[in-house]
């Protein structure tokens, strides 16, 4: 994979995703969110995002967004002509527009965010956080090493299930069994974390002196292109909404 995303610093991808979400949160309107979603869906694959992986990872978003939209359509603040009223349910033109805006906004932020960050390399992200954002080294590298152990939790969970069966304590009710096994996993995780801390110290981590970086993180042309691209998409989206007359900053921001 030699797309733009792969060449960009993971930190840049993170910042762009955050900026993208921040701008789309300002206004609840279908035009800006819809434009951003369409442009994002067109451009991200060109930048190297894998459509298939994004869709798989976005399953929770794809499920949650329509549910949120339906809820707002049925129960959202009423305005405009009433289309359907039955008990608490109150579907109006205004609530339908709001529902569509919400749907598009959740999809735009969710899909573009996953597209930007999907497959990001944790090690390079940590490198960037420490070297470019100057977050504390102990925190960043500690989190990175712990993140690796996180991947081993699944193995531990399966081994614990077998081990507890062998110890004769796996017959209890499902809830009790799960609770017991979860506690076992917690104990084991604390234990692993302690060992990891020792292993890191044994390799000179946490000493008072300075530290060098084998992998140099620095912002470069791909990061600039990525940031400008995102800014352009957002500018078009906002301009379209303003021209269409739907630009509608949420109440708090309107002053």
């Amino acid at each position: 994979m030699t797309g733009l995303l792969a060449r960009a610093e993971p930190v840049a991808r993170l910042l762009v995703a955050l900026g993208f979400a921040a701008v789309l949160v300002i206004s609840v309107d279908p035009v800006s969110a819809g434009t951003a979603l369409v442009l994002g869906a067109l451009l991200l694959p060109l930048a190297g995002a894998r459509v298939r992986r994004v869709l798989v990872q976005a399953v929770p978003v794809l499920v949650a967004a329509p549910l949120a939209a339906v809820t707002i359509a049925l129960y959202g603040a009423p305005s405009g002509r009433t289309l359907l009223a039955a008990g608490l349910v109150h579907v109006t033109e205004g609530s339908l527009v709001l529902a569509l805006a919400t749907l598009l906004r959740v999809l735009a932020i969710g899909l573009c965010g996953i597209g930007l960050l999907g497959g990001v390399d944790a090690t390079r992200l940590a490198d960037g956080m420490a070297q470019l954002l100057h977050l504390p080294v102990r925190f960043v590298l500690g989190a990175l090493a712990a993140f690796r152990l996180f991947g081993l939790l699944g193995d531990d969970w399966r081994a614990l299930a077998l081990a507890r069966r062998a110890r004769g304590v796996a017959d209890r009710g499902r809830v009790q069994r799960f609770a017991g096994q979860a506690f076992g996993l917690l104990v084991l995780s604390v234990r692993r974390a302690t060992v990891l801390a020792t292993a890191m110290e044994a390799r000179g981590f946490g000493g008072p002196g300075p530290r060098t970086w084998a992998r140099r993180a620095r912002f470069g042309r791909p990061d600039l292109v990525l940031a400008l691209g995102a800014a352009a998409v957002l500018a078009v989206a906002v301009a379209a909404a303003v021209l269409a007359g739907t630009w509608n900053p949420v109440a708090g921001l309107r002053g």
Binding site: A122, T123, L144, A145, R148, G151, L152, D156, R158, A159, L160, L162, A163, R164, R165, A166, R167, G168, V169, A170, D171, G180, G184, V187, L188, R191, V195, L196, T198, A199, M200, E201, A202, R203, G204, F205, G206, G207, G209, P210, R211, T212, W213, A214, R215, R216
Partner: protein, 473 residues
């Protein structure tokens, strides 16, 4: 790198929350460039001493007395002068990729970035680990993990290399390879190796130091002197000395009734088989040793025989004498029904621990089967496996050898008819090894069937076990 001098003067360490001292009154002087084999019975404080020398024992982890120094200074202020490889190979891995992991120590020691790549390549070459730098560290075999751990330390170019049982997890072929890699790569550094397999190292070290449990040095000198003249007394103290094992082989027992049978069995996880299909029979009073190189699927086979994993293909069939009215397939039994039928000791003891103290840990099984006189049975088991002094300790805080003993004891506590054990003798001193052999022989004589996954040929012979050798996958 200039070799480091390691000195202990009246040094002692007591782990937080323990009554007894792990090490006490230790006077020891290791000269720069010396190669030392550090021996001692299980629990004599070998690992504790290595950690202290590496400067990774913190003030909050226990109490210190006396003085310990590296090149005359406090080891805790000399990060990187001593490089430590921890006991379990996977415990040493910090990062996701091989190259990054080896570079980690260099970065912490502020080695200029442009020199790190060269050091990483040299260290990997020295230990003979020839995988791509971006290979995932969790995709390595046990032997590769061990090499990686050593490379991570070598890349730091420490003045002293401290290795805690570097070959314990390896199959016999891997042991010699890793030893030779260590010797070649650490030329010019001070080397301290803790290892039970004395024969592997004795002709390659300058000096043998034997720690006395509870404090001090039991013996110190050239390998010839310590292992020759003092060998017999060391053996009595639990130190592995070259020569015949503490218990001679015994002939295969006359087997009783069939208990458990594997028919065309392929074991594996998630539906894919690890090794080829096997047929085997476990009879009352009979022992089976499952041997073979790392990665051949021995542990998976053990878990399947023990009724914990469903077979990928073929069957595990419990004979009526074992099933006692239950279905023939052990994996369908209830957990509690397994206890008195098939006991299983895991490769990683920590997975099996459930209780906050050793005593309560041993009581879990008997309580689940509602056995009478649980306390008496627990006391007897504590004595039998020399765990009485640790009865109130947390199982997770025990040494590697002690944990293994405890996990064997927990399985025995419910007197199963079939016992499946994965590497029961790993990390044991000679006395405990002998005690384990006696214990298993007693079980065999009483009609228990034993299946042991092991690299330990002596153990297999001492049980008079039939041998099943699995081929590399």
């Amino acid at each position: 790198m200039t070799p480091a001098a390691l000195v202990a003067e009246g040094w002692g360490w007591r782990h937080a929350g323990r009554a007894g001292w792990a090490v006490r009154g230790l006077d020891l002087r290791i000269e720069p460039g010396e190669r030392v084999l550090l021996l001692g019975a299980s629990g004599a404080g070998k690992s504790t001493l290595l950690r202290a020398l590496a400067g990774v024992l913190g003030d909050d982890e226990g109490d210190q007395e006396g003085r310990l120094s590296i090149d005359g200074g406090d080891p805790r202020r000399a990060r990187g002068r001593a490089g430590l490889v921890l006991q379990a190979p996977d415990a040493n891995t910090v990062l996701e990729r091989v190259g990054d992991d080896v570079a980690f120590g260099c970065e912490n020691l502020a080695v200029p970035a442009e020199r790190i790549a060269g050091r990483v390549a040299a260290a990997l070459h020295a230990v003979g680990l020839t995988v791509p730098l971006d290979r995932s560290t969790s995709a390595l075999s046990g032997g590769q993990q061990q090499r990686l751990a050593i490379a991570g330390v070598l890349a730091m170019e420490p003045g002293a290399v401290l290795l805690d049982e570097p070959t314990a997890n390896l199959d016999p072929g891997g042991v010699v390879e890793v030893r030779d890699a260590v010797l070649a790569a650490t030329a010019g550094a001070t080397l301290v190796v803790v290892e039970h397999r004395v024969a592997v190292w004795q002709h390659h070290v300058d000096r043998v130091v034997v720690l006395q449990p509870g404090g001090g040095v039991l013996a110190d000198g050239s390998p010839e002197r310590v292992l020759g003249a003092l060998g017999a007394s060391l053996g009595a103290a639990g130190v592995w000395v070259p020569g015949p094992p503490p218990r001679p082989p015994r002939p295969a027992a006359v087997e009783g009734a069939l208990l458990l049978e594997a028919v065309d069995l392929a074991a594996g996880r998630g539906g894919s088989a690890v090794g080829g299909a096997v047929d085997l029979r476990l009879c009352a009073g009979g022992a089976l040793a499952v041997l073979g190189p790392n990665g051949a699927g021995k542990s998976t086979l053990a878990l399947t025989l023990a009724g914990l994993l469903p077979p990928v293909a073929g069957d595990v069939v419990a004979a009526p004498a074992l099933a006692r009215g239950l279905k023939a397939s052990p994996v369908r039994w209830r957990s509690r029904d397994l206890l008195s039928r098939i006991g299983c000791v895991f490769q990683q003891p920590e997975h099996q621990f459930l209780a906050p103290t050793v005593r309560q840990e041993l009581a879990v099984g008997p309580r689940a089967t509602r056995a009478p006189d649980v306390d008496e049975a627990v006391d007897a088991m504590l004595d039998r496996l020399r765990l009485a002094a640790l009865a109130d300790a947390n199982p997770f805080t025990l040494s590697g050898g002690e944990q293994r003993r405890l996990s064997v004891a927990t399985a025995l506590a419910t007197a199963p008819q079939v016992l499946v054990v994965d590497e029961p003798t790993f990390g044991q001193d000679a006395i405990t090894w002998g005690a384990l052999v006696d214990l298993f022989r007693g079980l065999l004589d009483a009609g228990t069937a034993v299946a042991a996954v092991t690299h330990d040929e002596d153990f297999a012979a001492a049980l008079g076990a039939e041998r099943l050798v699995l081929a590399a996958a």
